[in-house]
Symmetry: D2
Subunit: 340 residues, 4 copies
């Protein structure tokens, strides 16, 4: 029966290719009004209805709704609730127990700068509300990153101005948040990653990656936002290079009757399982444990063999270590997979 | 004064190149007798004395002293203390407060197979003496990995034999253990990584990497061992592909009067800082925190700038999550460094 | 101004005493219908409206809605969503930014047995969805605890029957869950403790304890449930001795204009601050950090003095280490407080 | 066979009582010379040789060798290595594989003040070398605690002097460090608690408590030190109230042929198992897991029953959360034990 599920995935992929080739799928271009931004996963009214096979092109606000325009605009003074989401998006036919499959196709910035903060009590190397200390915070800083569209780069500029250091950094854009409505009627803040995806802040959710998310409510009610120009592993200061723009996403055929336990990603090179919790140890146990399940269920490996092989070829990417929960990705190179 | 330290590093590097070019350095080829293996970092008598600029070519036993010869040889039945070290090696002129710099040049296997266990209560996805659970262990398994010297590959073979899966994996050899005598008179088991290096089980300690270790006792008294054919991030089953062989290491000029707080690595592409403790969160805080120090002290970045830039370009590699303490490496791409 | 807040607390307490003495407060006796149970903190319609000064006497279902009647009724087979809540209860005049103060007065069991499971993958000494391992679970067991009302005891009975061990245990009843609607529109499962209280599973929420909770929505919308006959520190098997019954709670005057950051408790002997997150380290940092705040803000201690004194006289009680998030309580003996 | 071990414990206890009653045991009064203090567990020469049944009365230096005499003597300026140990003490007949049993009988202070620091980057609510942050430390402070021998109290005095707060605190003396030589030839710093005991900083190692420690080397080579006047749970500022004095300890008959896995304590009221590692979660898993073993091996409980009963009556005491590794104690009330 597990082979059947794998077969279903394959057929779904073929169907997706077919639909995309034949061009029958609709394309939805959507930019929310300010009132339409939503700050939770779960609840809310559908901002858009689409069908499997459709393409959506979504405009996304940055993580502070465009309130940051210069180095004088401190994050702590913005008065803005973080991480506005574009969505939720209702997918026709999606029922609890299914898996939503969506492929990130393209990300286009539409502003000439990004920004990144050093917030008070911000990031992994400052104490915060959870890892609570008594020390005073570092002085707050806001960094502005000019965008060079021709060179596809941005530039780090010291807060000291000409006294300080400056260096050019290439783009590597990805979506900071991407998730469905959680299970059990929970409404989860758009700052939190969990079983439903959400604020994973993981560099792997970029063009070329297919994302598998659990369907917990009719229509899946997924949303996305928080575009990043690029980000280091862990997003350790509590912000990537934050920008606005358009993301193009293909809604692939639903995987009916099988729900992923935790988000999974796939690109040409890797299968990827995601773990979001605290501490990092348990993120990694979730991610690697789910990869063992994946190898056993879809590729027929024995438990001991899956554990052993993964131990020799597995790779780990740290998503974020600064959000309400952390995110880690375990990766299995597809070149080592059995042929189905 | 910090610039002076950076200058010292540079001069040391130039001197190293000079010495290697002129060929005045001695080469020491050393294979321990069975009685010479040492299972601690700290204490013991020098097995070898060398000078900065010398090259050492060391034979290293595998992690269970060659006791594993077939899939019938279970790790739990071997009666062997793990991780025999080749060393300790005394470096002339090394004084407490210095930094030892050694460059891994080459690793040659000298056996036609590696092995890797699924030990009882072994690895990150089984409970163990620290993350103690009441569940029974998985059945123990031993895997033998045949070595193909022409193709520079090894092969994973299912414990189910022909019923199971088999796949070829390229080599990516590195040293599992590498460390100096610890500070304060501690003698630390060769299974533990800590401030002195030790059993870091980190894929970055491979040919092309220079390793900086603290000198805590006269002569540094460093040792190495535990050769791995390749390993996934985290070494999650509690063993890489374990083999015997020869490692070639150049002892670079000492960095006098400045001791690294935690091991650092460097190759053509990256500066790397190491954190070894539990849980992973604190490994990562040590590693990223030390990288901020490095950028500030040797490259003149301001604290806020170092934190911000690292947040956008930093990379993380998980070494091990199965030893008595875990190891994580934080990496800074050298292309983003200021010119000195 | 901080003294003013302390004064407000005092006046509130005096007013509470006055109201209770004069008997002007209403008493609400409430038993939900099966359809009225609610499994989230946040959202839902008010099941009851009360005023500060009122007394509520609430019937609470057990953690699996009475589905467990014998040792043959396994938790995994119950098909029951855990932790039905009695509520939410709307408190007149409660506005976001206030603190709700409620005092637990009495708990009366109304059944002649309690139960406690050994669930599959259940508890702190088995792997679970977060601390994920590959080992098989322990065999599932259900324990029934007969209640002796005269002796105010219950009895542990081995699952082996007469071959096994049996021992009498005194009651020490408390409420497993107690919380308000969370901030930011979140709806949080009744299995989770967090800033709003919730499933703290902490033995301190018992008769004689006043509980301070944040008001995040109009009316506070608080609820309670999950009565425990008694429980060990940590609730390590994933269940206390679960029972149904009536809890009597006095709604004290609101603390206007000051919201606790995290739940606080108080009884005759101790001030108590609660921390709920993972891992335990951070629970304890939140709890002890909040106690430093409390000593500084309400009792005028200097930061260094609060830290030092707490270090010599603080006590810690572990609530749960088995829920989606853990809970720890830091306690300061009131005999060491300055007189206000 | 397990019953035999329990029987051996009983006979050992009876023999101990007999020997103490008949007074045949020797009493050794020992005060080390300054040169005799030892800062490691493992290695070193025996400072004293005793036999099972003997009583030792040991003078112990405070944690900074008496260097702190006033509030002007900052810990960071003392130049003193912390935690001098009185020992190691060789116990005749102790062989690897045995358990050393010693009972703390009495602690007498011999100085009229204790001290406690607020060290730079010190304690659980400041960042430190492991939980590394970039924030500046709190200002360093030294507290002096005058000792009142008649009232058996000490007094907390604000660092602000008369402007600040002052309060009297009763004594509750215990030994901060107590351990044997570690296994495998390790030498472990006297600041670290681990399988051998060591710097547990746990309030339970006080008069009336019997301590069971593993014998890893001939003679056990145990030592003790770091007398505390009293301490809060966790020793969160990184120091208890530190003092010098005399400790009286009875060396009980050895438990031959059975080695505890981790330290165990016992007093009139509780069996106690100790877990020392990071994070707290794993300390607690070690401690509770060992208690399950104890109940199964010595008291014949079934695994499921031990887990369930412990879940309802277990208690937890947090030792330290500030040393190189943390310490937690799990307690089982002896009134719930089966009669042997």
């Amino acid at each position: 029966m597990k082979r059947k599920v794998a077969l279903t995935f394959c057929l779904a992929a073929i169907l997706a290719l077919f639909l995309m080739t034949t061009g029958e799928a609709a394309t939805h271009r959507f930019k929310p009004t300010p009132a339409q931004y939503y700050y939770l996963f779960g609840g809310g009214k559908a901002a858009l209805k689409v069908a499997p096979g459709d393409r959506v092109i979504l405009w996304c606000e940055d993580a502070l709704n465009g309130k940051i325009r210069s180095t004088d605009d401190l994050a702590s003074k913005s008065g803005q609730r973080p991480n506005p989401q574009t969505g939720p998006i209702y997918v026709e036919g999606a029922e609890p127990g299914d898996t939503l499959a969506i492929k990130i196709v393209d990300i286009q910035f539409d502003r000439d700068y990004g920004w990144s903060p050093l917030p008070p009590y911000g990031g992994f190397l400052q104490s915060n509300q959870f890892t609570r200390m008594l020390q005073d915070p570092l002085p707050e800083v806001m960094y502005i990153y000019p965008i060079n569209k021709e060179r596809k780069t941005t530039t780090f500029v010291s807060h000291l101005g000409k006294e300080g250091y400056s260096v050019e950094i290439p783009w590597d854009p990805f979506m900071g948040t991407l998730g469905t409505a959680p299970a059990g009627g929970e409404h989860i803040d758009a700052l939190t990653p969990y079983w439903h995806g959400g604020n994973m802040d993981c560099v792997e959710t970029k063009p070329g990656t297919t994302v598998y998310l659990p369907v917990n409510v009719p229509g899946a009610m997924w949303s996305t936002g928080d575009i990043h120009v690029t980000q280091g592993d862990g997003e350790i200061i509590g912000g990537a290079i934050e920008i606005t723009g358009w993301v193009t996403i293909d809604v692939l055929p639903l995987i009916k009757g099988k729900k992923v336990n935790t988000p999974r990603f796939e690109n040409d090179e890797y299968l990827m399982s995601v773990g979001s919790i605290r501490p990092l140890d348990d993120c990694l146990r979730i991610a690697y444990g789910d990869m063992v399940d994946w190898l056993m269920e879809d590729y027929g490996l024995d438990r001991a063999d899956a554990y052993q092989l993964l131990s020799q070829v597995g790779r780990v990417r740290v998503g974020n270590v600064v959000d309400t929960l952390y995110t880690v990705v375990a990766k299995f190179p597809k070149k080592y997979l059995p042929r189905k």
